[in-house]
Symmetry: none
Subunit: 340 residues, 2 copies
């Protein structure tokens, strides 16, 4: 790879007869200009082969400065929003992001982790959505320069960033307790994952704080998917509605459950109260508007990138686990327990 003189904004501005600021603002979209002026600038850009992006400039100089971001599934709005947050943070720092979707398959996760070893990216933000059998942790420990976000990979020696799942469970539990719910169904992700365990713990603790031993906490464990939400709702109905309130621990699960309840004529909150988790989708427009624990998704994305850039990867790392706070957004899907 050879180094060469790179065309800069100044060259473009001079050729087009405008100021550097004008070119810069046109390119970042903060300024509109008369057609003739725009054409002079775009002609200059073309003639000079100017690359108006730090990523492209760095590429042309042979350095990557590209961050990799590995997520399970981009179609899930939670991950999509997380990705967008990392993109925006990277953009303000002049870094490029390469995004890899694992479709939640271990084989793809391993392949993408190996990108670092091959120097395709300078560091990775890694998000998984299923329990690890030890393979991911081993690879992460060998690779280094990985920040684990949203869900843990137990045993991985890496900076970790999660939302405060326990607090989320506690906020849900306190809200349900205030309405008098002692019989609660927790519909969670895989039990081996911290998101599920901690949310369930927080829920149980606050219900016990309110009612002592006089509670009944039921748990259905599955995936964080609409399909599992549907399954869970069907099982809940088949089992004769064994709880007065449900804590559905992701938007996707809640959506699946609400679909089935609508079809089967189970009314929220008259027949059963429901509280969700994530609050990324338009839950405020649902009928009824859904009460939910809101994840700080954008903050998680932004902070994950800072952690990747600010960690001293040369030194022996302190094993930091950082938690970002969640909040409860109260709407209309929780009411006092239905009379049986």
């Amino acid at each position: 790879m050879t180094t060469r003189r790179v065309t800069g904004l100044k060259d473009v501005a001079r050729a087009a007869g405008v100021s550097v600021t004008t070119v810069s603002r046109l390119l970042n979209g903060s300024l509109d200009l008369p057609f003739e002026t725009k054409k002079r600038i775009s002609d200059a850009i073309r003639d000079l082969n100017y690359q108006p992006n730090p990523h492209a400039r760095r590429l042309s100089r042979g350095r990557s400065e590209t961050i990799g971001l590995v997520v399970p599934d981009i179609a899930n709005p939670f991950f999509a929003t997380l990705v967008a947050a990392v993109e925006e943070e990277a953009d303000t720092r002049g870094l490029a992001v390469s995004l890899y979707a694992t479709l939640n398959r271990a084989g793809r996760e391993v392949a993408y982790l190996q990108l670092i070893e091959r120097n395709h990216v300078d560091g990775l933000i890694f998000v998984t959505n299923h329990p690890d059998d030890g393979q991911l942790a081993t690879l992460i420990n060998r690779t280094g320069k990985v920040v684990i976000a949203d869900e843990d990979v137990p045993g991985a020696q890496a900076p970790k960033l999660f939302c405060d799942n326990e607090l989320g469970g506690a906020l849900a539990g306190r809200h349900l307790a205030e309405f008098g719910h002692r019989d609660v169904l927790f519909v969670g992700g895989p039990q081996a994952m911290i998101s599920s365990r901690r949310r369930s713990n927080g829920l149980e603790r606050t219900l016990r704080d309110a009612f002592g031993e006089d509670i009944r906490l039921l748990k259905y464990a599955g995936d964080y998917t609409v399909a599992f939400g549907r399954q869970a709702a069907k099982r809940f109905i088949e089992e004769g509605r064994p709880a007065t309130a449900i804590f559905a621990s992701s938007d996707e699960i809640a959506i699946g459950m609400i679909e089935v309840f609508r079809d089967q004529g189970v009314s929220i909150p008259d027949d059963v109260s429901v509280i969700g988790f994530d609050d990324v989708g338009p839950l405020h427009l649902f009928g009824p508007p859904m009460t939910a624990i809101r994840q700080p998704v954008r903050a998680i994305g932004g902070r994950a990138l800072s952690l990747l850039l600010e960690t001293n990867w040369q030194g022996k790392q302190a094993l930091v686990e950082e938690l970002l706070p969640v909040e409860i957004v109260v709407r209309k899907s929780v009411a006092p327990p239905a009379k049986r």
Copy 2:
């Protein structure tokens, strides 16, 4: 430019009663099947006159391993779903996808288009969300190996793949006409973009078919964003509700409008009927469930990748514009015009 409907792997798969992956793997030799199944597939290929392009097969097995996908904004569920579809299709073909988010800025779009020239990717699927001033078209024509999806870049000599926007507008118009709406507000994206123009044309045509000159079609033009939806709803209220029905031409716009209507006590469909476009988000759970035109988002993503692989980039290209059909999903947000 000609519009045609091309037989694809999907058609073959549907006719043979198997998955697209099965057909794809049979054709590239990575899968063997029982005789009966193979016969069903080869009959379908013959009956539909499907031509599995040898060039595509070579590309999919050969040196070409990474496809670039450029989208405006991953946090928008429409683009997130499109990305996921391309990822899945690429996965079945053993290709990797590099994803680039432009944040809808021309500078970033240009930089990413240049990745092809630098051989960082073997081809690009390009999705923009704002009108081009000519710069993108110039670059695409110089670069080649670009498939334009979802929204046009006028003047670009590339295979183009859109949903049937005109049909979508027509389906919306027919549905509103059936309920007796003659005063309709079209809330669209930028007027310079084909999505907006064609949807609006389809709407107008069917309203005229139903009522002749006795219609009033009002238009607000802005961005495909929640923020613009909110603005449009406020303006609609300030102007004294100058229509009995609204065609909101994206999920994002509809969400912004519904938010404001809820806050201001404007009831859907009692005070105003609303029909949406995209139907990617959970509109079926809204209160009331939203009637909408459904885009074939996953099909667009999958087909865009096929086009990239099946186009003979060496030859002089026929300028193909392919349209994928949309459908109307009738729910509860349209009713007869409110009495004034």
